[in-house]
Symmetry: D2
Subunit: 340 residues, 4 copies
């Protein structure tokens, strides 16, 4: 049994990783850390995890593979030490997602361990499975980029390089830290956009979609995304509505067939026949995608949805772990969504 640990279990991504690992048949969660709660039983902070019978420690015990659910910066300080101990690491923070140090510095400031940037594959298994399988360190994608990249990847070399991603997120995407924005009374019965000065998930989307476009087009660097995230009064779920102008000659049927073929081997991606609902992904690692040709305008609308804490964070991390351990991708991640 592979022994795994979670650094900083006390946020939502950390807790969700623990929840999913509790059901995983091939690994065993043996250690969790969390600074403010160190010394407490895990069940004291998270009653739903009491059966794991773990104590929250200050430093991560010896494990075979570690998940870092620290905030950015903090994660890049800890990850090198974990690697030095010979542990493989899946970093759920943003610290190793951007391959370009300049981009990182622009969005996040100085990087504590920049020498690792070139090593970590971007952990989106639908695009980079073989690099992930071989990696020592994997950079788990952001929640918005997961939805947007999966929505647009199949057609990214067939569209004008000017894209819009209008995304709607549940509140858990903002984390467990306290803020007026996530106070119940402020966001209940409310809906608003945010991050119009530039959201940190934008460079990830552009990095990955440009790389895909560059395989067939020489204008990849011109690719540009207008990304507007919105907060919606629900706990979980991201819905990304993507708009692009498709090259001529496509029919709706051909578009759907193309998406189905592109994701033929992807066990968590479903191409669906109607606008997908976030509720149908609740608690699962699924990504539902609905590509739709608006024949009148020649525009393509692609709607993708995920559970932001699963496919957008913890579930994808475990999918990456499965690849790294040579397990079937779906191990421990099966079962229907919680509905209603």
């Amino acid at each position: 049994m592979v022994r795994v640990g979670i650094v900083n279990v006390t946020g939502y991504a950390g807790a969700e990783t623990a929840r999913l690992l509790a059901r995983h048949p091939a690994v065993r969660l043996v250690a969790v850390t969390g600074r403010s709660a160190a010394g407490q039983p895990l069940g004291a902070v998270f009653p739903h995890l009491a059966d794991l019978e773990l104590a929250i420690e200050e430093e991560l015990a010896e494990v075979d593979l570690a998940f870092s659910a620290l905030p950015h910066h903090a994660s890049a300080e800890v990850v090198p030490r974990l690697l030095e101990r010979g542990q493989r690491v899946i970093d759920i923070s943003a610290d190793y997602r951007l391959h370009d140090l300049t981009q990182y510095e622009r969005w996040y400031g100085a990087h504590p361990s920049p020498w690792l940037l070139g090593e970590a594959p971007y952990g989106l298994p639908e695009l980079h499975a073989s690099q992930i399988a071989a990696a020592r360190l994997v950079a788990n994608p952001g929640c918005y980029p997961t939805a947007a990249i999966l929505a647009l990847a199949p057609i990214i070399d067939r569209v004008e390089p000017v894209l819009i991603v209008d995304a709607k997120s549940g509140v858990s995407g903002a984390g467990r830290s306290l803020s007026l924005t996530t106070h119940y009374c402020e966001i209940n019965e409310n809906c608003h956009a945010y991050g119009l000065n530039g959201h940190r998930h934008l460079p990830e989307m552009e990095q990955e979609l440009r790389a895909l476009r560059a395989r067939h087009r020489d204008d990849a660097e011109a690719l540009e995304i207008t990304f507007v995230p919105h907060l919606v009064p629900m706990t979980r779920g991201i819905l990304a509505t993507c708009y692009a102008r498709l090259e001529r000659g496509w029919s709706q049927a051909a578009l759907v067939a193309h998406y189905r073929e592109f994701y033929r081997a992807a066990p968590f991606v479903r191409i669906v026949d109607a606008p997908p609902q976030t509720k149908h992904t609740l608690g699962t690692n699924l990504c539902l995608i609905y590509p739709r040709l608006d024949e009148r305008s020649g525009r393509v609308i692609v709607i993708a949805c995920i559970d932001n804490l699963v496919k957008g964070a913890a579930g994808q991390a475990i999918q990456n772990m499965n690849l790294m351990l040579g397990l079937p991708e779906v191990t421990g991640l099966d079962g229907p969504a919680l509905y209603p």
Copy 2:
């Protein structure tokens, strides 16, 4: 005191019209109808309206001005009779919003009283105040078009004629009739798009925005909107996020100044400095607009929000009534939003 009545008070738009009229200082709600509930006290169907001490009747009694909150088709059957009795009418249904009969027939089927199409001004007071003031019949706009048209009107002749309106609506927009879509357990903790085969509010938006563009441009008929509505788990509120490509030469400051000037005389439109929140319009007739230049892409993002039952229906109807009666536009429509 002007006597007014509501035809079909039993839906959300009708009930909201009654709620607002209860506080109106210059008119008196004297009659309400509703087929299924005829004979019952209004307070039996809507406890919050019990103080009005009205009974729901089958036929509208003699009034000076009537609001029709019937569904489309049904409204266009009743409105001619009201007009014949010499009553002025504000039609909250969609029946007289489209000036072009062909368009109406395409989206709604045969029109019961097409001869009135040419007569009724589109009841968006920010654009058509003088026609409304003089009208016998006013076509109250749809909720989505109200938000989208107000968002885009000031720049409609300065953008490429290819627009995107990504709108998020609370559930009351779907009405009080029962459907699985509006069952609590289905839409709570859920978010999804709908109406991708064409939403009936699209032709209204195009009609009004083309007409505005036609004043300064000769390509108005080419103007085309991609409109994707979404359902969000809240009762009230619409947030419309609009995307367009602006002509060169604008700065953010100039854009804001232009919007402020455009709506200088509009008491319910506020140009705001941060992404607006639907909650800040709750229960009011306000439309909050945030125009934002994305200098990197040359794209303009305009976000507008309203309470779909007030500025998107009943409140706008009363604003129209005020104009028709020569009252100040804000009469009976003042007071802050209900927050939190």
Copy 3:
């Protein structure tokens, strides 16, 4: 025009007082304070109050009457100074609600201005209108006590003195300060009891109900309430379900008639014919009461509901102000609930 002010406008009770005062025809809100936000325009903190065009000040300017929406302790430090300046005060905090200093100290600790305890009437107008009208300082009741006392007052001398109050509250009752309990993701889709070690609203309920019982019974001190508050995922509203054992001889009809008679002169209390819904009080100063005799068990169940921020705080404060100023009780507090 009477000039009024609000000390500590930055919590929900303070903001709600401002919202209601904005519509009040006989007084004018001329000053608001708030320590952390001092210097900012009120509209920067609360966009829905921007039209008031007030700045948040550090110290309250000269007014005729002040509302204190400070937390307990802090309020009792400021109130004496306001009174010394000749201003009448309505204290929305808990500081002057308990007449017995020992009780206060037990639940809240040392009292900064105990000499005022004997002076301030308990500001429940349905019970103490004449004292309130004459008072210099009024202690505005807590939200739970308002619902529970109004529910039980008419029969408090007809029941066994052992009562249960099982109350359900929306999240705004917990205030605008940040806490994990009020984080959206923690309380959305959740329901739980709290305060079982003793909730500070209990002594208020017992003080008032014992005083009422003492008018006709000599066992008033034996009266004892088991009070269990619950948090429910909604922003506003309190529903109190009260259980007591009624003396023999009552019928359902007699019970209802007795309640109607008891509240004959109370403009905000409605005796209703079906279990009341918090939504029917949304934004209003109403208290809906449903008394119900369970003939099988001889037990009476009385369900009362209010909007916790209006009748449970700001609206009741304004009702008290109206009495103090000799205005009709309903002034500025009329209009139907916001529904749906």
Copy 4:
């Protein structure tokens, strides 16, 4: 592999049974029925169940064990036929819960198959495991009774026989059928009691609690419950707050120890140290119980919570199936709650 089927999969209890069976390692769901949706793929009605690759049939195919999720009356018409075919049956409806035909007729009307009433054990495994294991037909308990009986069973012979159960339920308890009560806009931001004329779950509670009391007391028939259910704006979860007067001599510690001992062998019951939250049971078969002695009043408050669709319906049905098949009770029902 045991083959199981679900009669009437199209309600929430049926769909939830299918969701849980999809993960069960020892049985295989091979057939589902549903009248209105017969002929459709299961995934067309419930996208989250598409992977089961089942079609909805009109009649149940040959299976080893069947779950009936039909409404009452309809279930009692179908169950005899299933039994005649030699299939064991777990009836999720109310049809076989009451052992006394007169009681059934009083609450539900005529019984289509009364001869089976004496045969079916009440399927609460914590009380009747051995009868369930041997049964051909098991009557799965209602959601409210499950919470209330588990809360009160350990002390039912130590309290005065006059009990109060104040219960709060999520909306899914009202089923998937359409009604104004469950329209999103009506119950969102709302809370109210219902069923005060007598709720059908009351006789179940009394039957089971009287039977338990009768083991040690001869006044069991005098036991009487006042039961007030409330609707709360959340999809899943029941919280039952139970009030009773405990015999003298108990301490809080002794009470907790007694509950722990009583449920020593019950894998799904947890005695907790703080008021439990429905969210901590989300998607699981757990029942969290918090017994609390109010030493001042001598009253005991016991709060229990469950997921109404799991321990309150489908999960309990599978727990019963596990007993009937000689499997460990927890088979297929493990894993932490979905939080947040």
